[in-house]
């Protein structure tokens, strides 16, 4: 009987481990802020201002590489991230960027933030959408810390604390 249960557990476990593939992960969160969309957009579009609202980004440096704009972020851990500005759309109040280099538990990260009008003129909604993959992209078994759950938890952490930071900074201005 015990052997049979063990067999069943093994079967279920191995099936779930095998069942992973190259699926992009998504984190999409929004926060309502009690300032006008214009005021919120002013800060959101300022590519070099990330340290003011993302507490884990200790230092930011803006760098031009040819036509492209990069921000170099130093995280609390000491790890560095290179992020490239992809586009800013004034009409839609949308900014897009991607990570080009960095020691983080996820890969192929690109993201965008959109500022839209809230329920009145002095309220806005900031939405942050991130798209990324886990670190390990080959066949299972997936090494510990390189799986979808780890990648998602790390990005979720950045997004949650970033949006909370934006709200705090914008509303205290």
């Amino acid at each position: 009987m015990n052997k049979f249960i063990l067999f069943l557990v093994t079967l279920i476990f191995s099936a779930s481990v095998l069942a992973h593939g190259p699926t992009p992960q998504k984190v999409q969160e929004s926060v309502t802020v009690n300032v006008s969309p214009e005021k919120a957009w002013e800060l959101v579009k300022d590519f070099g201002a990330i340290s003011t609202w993302l507490s884990s980004a200790k230092v930011t440096k803006i760098e031009k590489r040819g036509e492209d704009t990069y921000r170099i972020i130093t995280l609390e851990s000491g790890d560095k991230l290179d992020e490239k500005l992809r586009s800013t759309d004034e009409d839609l109040k949308k900014i897009r960027w991607e990570i080009t280099k960095g020691n983080v538990p996820f890969t192929d990260f690109n993201a965008y933030m959109i500022v839209s009008k809230g329920s009145n003129d002095n309220e806005s909604v900031i939405q942050w959408t991130a798209r990324f993959y886990r670190v390990y992209k080959l066949n299972p078994p997936i090494p510990e810390g390189q799986d979808d759950a780890t990648a998602k938890a790390a990005v979720q952490g950045f997004v949650d604390s970033g949006l909370a930071g934006l709200k705090k900074v914008l509303e205290s201005k």
Binding site: A19, T23, R96, R131
Partner: protein, 321 residues
């Protein structure tokens, strides 16, 4: 004019009017539906392209991505990434009629000309699986180059054409012998691939470009498009490209390869398909969990319709009846 001639003319007019009304009636009675795989919620949304309404959500396997509508067999073949299976949907009643375990990760899916076989790229195993639509079983598999992603079928040349994403190549296989006929280097990171007449198109994600290959002489042209193009589809005179990080669709004139217009889509548009009956273009928007429908004649947006979490539909996803 003689009396006989007048009668003859009248008869001709009646016959013509009859023919026109038959054609018009047929057109208005035809139905087009878009089948959208929602990778974030394990479902397929059915969008009626006439009423522009979401008709139904169908539960499929885990993490569905690729799809191919087999119009002649009234089925859709859906590839489930995480559960490593195919879901077969009966398009007449929108029910899953069979789930086929394949022990492989299905990426691109395409049917041959008469719909008797469906070809599926197997991502990790570097193979193409052949599904027989006669008995809905995998009849064979053959080896291909690394990271096979997008797949298309050219009827005129009887070729299965795949994009080998990490090798920056297109591989072309004879659809009967499964022998490799040609390997062509294209732009960087080709993902989506499609074909029309003697032309093959690949969307080169890292290059922000499209490669156009002429099957008559292997000549190749490159066209710059928007950011991170994922897929490309053509009609008789235009090419449509979904720029996944541009949040837009580039429309290109196929005669002079000039950009005609840039269409705003939903967020992260990944895949597009053409509804030739209703002259509509549909993009699947991974970021905004929706599809955007455009009028192909005016190139204006008609509607954005919420579909489901992480809408992707990699493949030809429009059913016409």
């Amino acid at each position: 004019m003689s009396k006989q001639k007048k009668i003859l003319l009248l008869i001709c007019a009646f016959v013509l009017a009859g023919l026109v009304s038959i054609i018009l009636l047929n057109k208005s009675h035809s139905v087009s539906k878009a089948y959208i795989t929602n990778q974030g919620e394990d479902s397929v949304s059915v969008v009626n392209l006439d009423t522009l309404k979401l008709e139904k959500k169908i539960s499929v396997g885990k993490s569905p991505l690729g799809i191919s509508i087999v119009n002649s067999k009234d089925i859709a073949v859906v590839g489930n990434i995480e559960s490593q299976s195919l879901s077969i949907i009966d398009l007449k009643d929108n029910e899953v009629i069979k789930t086929i375990p394949i022990d492989a990760t299905p990426l691109g899916i395409v049917a041959d000309a008469d719909g008797s076989r469906v070809f599926i790229t197997s991502w990790f195993k570097n193979q193409i699986l052949v599904l027989s639509t006669h008995d809905l079983t995998i009849s064979e598999a053959f080896n291909v180059g690394a990271t096979p992603s997008g797949i298309t079928f050219n009827e005129n040349y009887n070729l299965i054409i795949i994009a080998n994403r990490d090798e920056n190549t297109l591989e072309m296989y004879d659809a009967e012998s499964f022998k490799l006929k040609k390997v062509l280097r294209v732009g960087s990171h080709p993902y989506g691939v499609s074909t029309r007449n003697h032309l093959v198109f690949s969307a080169n994600v890292y290059d922000d470009s499209i490669s156009i290959v002429n099957l008559q002489n292997w000549e190749q042209k490159t066209v710059a498009v928007g950011m991170h193009p994922y897929s490309v589809a053509a009609n008789q005179d235009r090419l449509f490209v979904a720029n996944s990080q541009g949040d837009n669709i580039t429309v290109i004139n196929l005669n002079n390869l000039q950009e005609v217009k840039l269409l705003d889509a939903g967020e992260t548009p990944e895949n597009i398909a053409i509804d030739a009956i209703n002259d509509k273009l549909v993009s699947t928007n991974w970021g905004s969990d929706s599809v955007t429908v455009f009028d192909l004649n005016t190139l204006e947006q008609i509607a954005e319709i919420k579909t489901g979490l992480q809408s992707r539909s990699f493949g030809q996803f429009i059913y016409r009846k």
